[in-house]
Amino acid sequence: MQLQESIGMALNSIRVNKLRSVLTLLGIGVGVFSIIGVMTAMGVLQNAIESGVSSLGANTFQIQKYPQNFFSDRDRRRYRNRKDISYDQAALFYERMKLAKFVGLEVWEGGKVAEYRNIKTNPSVGVAGESIDGIATNNWNIVNGRSYTNQEVQSASNVVVIGSDVVKKLFPMGNPIGELIRVDGDQYKVVGTLEDKGGMLGGNQGNMVILPITTHMNKYGKERSVNIMVTARDQKSYNDVLEFSRGVLRVIRQVPPGQPDDFEFFSNDTVIAQFNDTTFMIKIGAVGIACIALLAAGIGIMNIMLVSVTERTKEIGIRKALGATKFNVLSQFLTESVIFSQIGGVIGIVTGSIMGNIVSLLLESPPVYPWNNSVAILQTPFLDFTALQMNITALIFCSLIGIVFGVYPAWKAANLDPIEALRFE
């Protein structure tokens, strides 16, 4: 008997036992859904973080008092007692780092209002203070006007470069260059605007204004820790520059030999690596949960198939009387359970991909399509899985479940005695 017939019979039996079929499909669907959902969401987050951190230029690392993120109170206490990286220290560092291509100094203030005439932004505009190299180390591009000059930084002029979101809000029509805007009460002259780079985690890439760091510190105070960004001349000198800057900063901050650094380095790579470290456990957890769910679903399929075999004993008897071989009956029931698990798997992949990509809507970051074959969303020590590979693996796994848990009921059906089966009522 051809496979096509088996499939037809399987679909028919799924159709006539609607409720039972739906419940079984749900079981396997939920298992696949949980794994695909979590993986897709993590893939989206990873996309977001990669496009987020890539706002740092190439071959660039950052030095801060605090690490990028920390998770426990113990960590918080440890870092809180560190001395700030003062502007003077940072300026000294800038003087001594001739090896680097750019050294940018940066301070931040968040949640401010920018206004132009009677148009106001929401109180969510980030106010950056940047040294002259800060524009370059942040990988920002001026699309209109210019950056501020050395002169303007030295003299702490009230000039501002504004992000694309602020441009859209305050100057929906006109040209902002040369106009005066008010940020947090003070007036600044707009000299340039930034290229729109799209959203990222937190969504503030365009929603900011950039002052000269001196202007920023005059307004918001000097008692704050400065972020230092260093761009190496090329990939080759990156590690040397990193080590050199470590030495320079230890000398400036008078860290005794043998003591650990009292500042943190990070780069795009370390941020991504750190993200992968944290999410790896979540992913492994999701795989574990999904495996348990799929095991439960598999047992569900087996249960359903056993009930189905018992219920259809008469049918099996008829089929055997009409000439069905053991293999015919076995393959019919096996096809049925594999089709069950496949349909469940497809439902799980579709809903899981949708759920996972809801995260991308929330973060306004690029979605991870289920057929995406370029970004690894699960990195294991042995193999990396892209979304497409993940989904194919899920379907193969579903077939395996269908076969493993379908074999016993199918075998039972195939070995029914036709005379007994025909007598069954």
């Binding site: 008997m1 006539v16 009409l322 000439g323 071989t325 053991k326 036709p418």
Partner: protein, 237 residues
């Protein structure tokens, strides 16, 4: 001429718990092509066992069973399935149609297992349904058909493979007497067209449609005789 069915000294013993039950003690029968035979006997006589053996649903414990000259006793499950599929058309008392499939698909079923292509088997099934005058009920499910119509679908299913024998087990047992007469008329027609028919029944009236009656009792052939005054059904369905 080689008989279709050649049964020699077969014995069938079941083991039920610790007790051996001799369902068939010593049975010898020959049935020729285009015979119309009724097998009769009270319940417990071994008539059902004999029918199962003839239908290749079961194999005898000892003795010889040749079907079209081929020894069935040596066959494995798959070979038996093949014989049932190609050479035996079953008609059951309870019709035994697949409840969820329409008449056409029910008739197609044996052809599916013989590996016939879809278009061919559809044509064959339609032809068989036409033979039992159910052309207009092809897409009805069994529960949308009357008892007589269901049995006609079952007969079409038995005919569709052009089997060597049609084996009917109490085919009128679940039908009222008028419909029963119609079905018996159909069997008479089939016989007249050259089919070999074996009818298993305990009703004398039904058995008297056949040309030959074999009476079974206690696992032995009690009597095997030609019917003198056959019943010819007055109404042809």
């Amino acid at each position: 001429m080689q008989p279709v069915i050649n049964i020699k000294n077969i014995k069938k013993t079941y083991i039920m718990g610790m007790v051996e039950v001799n369902a068939l003690v010593d049975v010898t029968i020959q049935i020729q092509k285009n015979e119309y035979v009724a097998i009769m006997g009270p319940s417990g006589s071994g008539k059902s066992t004999l029918m199962n053996v003839i239908g290749c649903l079961d194999t005898p414990t000892s003795g010889l069973y040749e079907f079209n000259g081929v020894n069935v006793g040596d066959m494995n499950d798959n070979e038996l399935a093949k014989i049932r599929n190609r050479d035996i058309g079953f008609v059951f008392q309870t019709f035994n149609l697949l409840a969820r499939s329409d008449a056409l698909h029910n008739v197609e079923l044996p052809l599916i297992y013989s590996g016939m292509k879809k278009a061919d088997r559809k044509a064959r099934a339609e032809e068989a349904l036409g033979h039992v005058r159910l052309e207009d009920r092809m897409h009805h499910k069994p529960n949308e058909l009357s008892g007589g119509q269901r049995q006609r679908v079952a007969i079409a299913r038995a005919l569709v493979t052009n089997p060597s024998i049609i084996l009917a087990d109490e085919p009128t047992g679940n039908l009222d007497s008028k419909t029963g007469v119609e079905i018996m008329g159909l069997f008479n027609d089939l016989h007249a067209q050259g089919n070999t028919i074996i009818l298993v029944t305990h009703e004398e009236d039904i058995a008297r449609h056949a040309h030959r009656i074999i009476r079974v009792r206690d696992g032995l052939i009690e009597n095997d005789h030609i019917v003198e005054n056959r019943v010819l059904p007055g109404i042809h369905s």
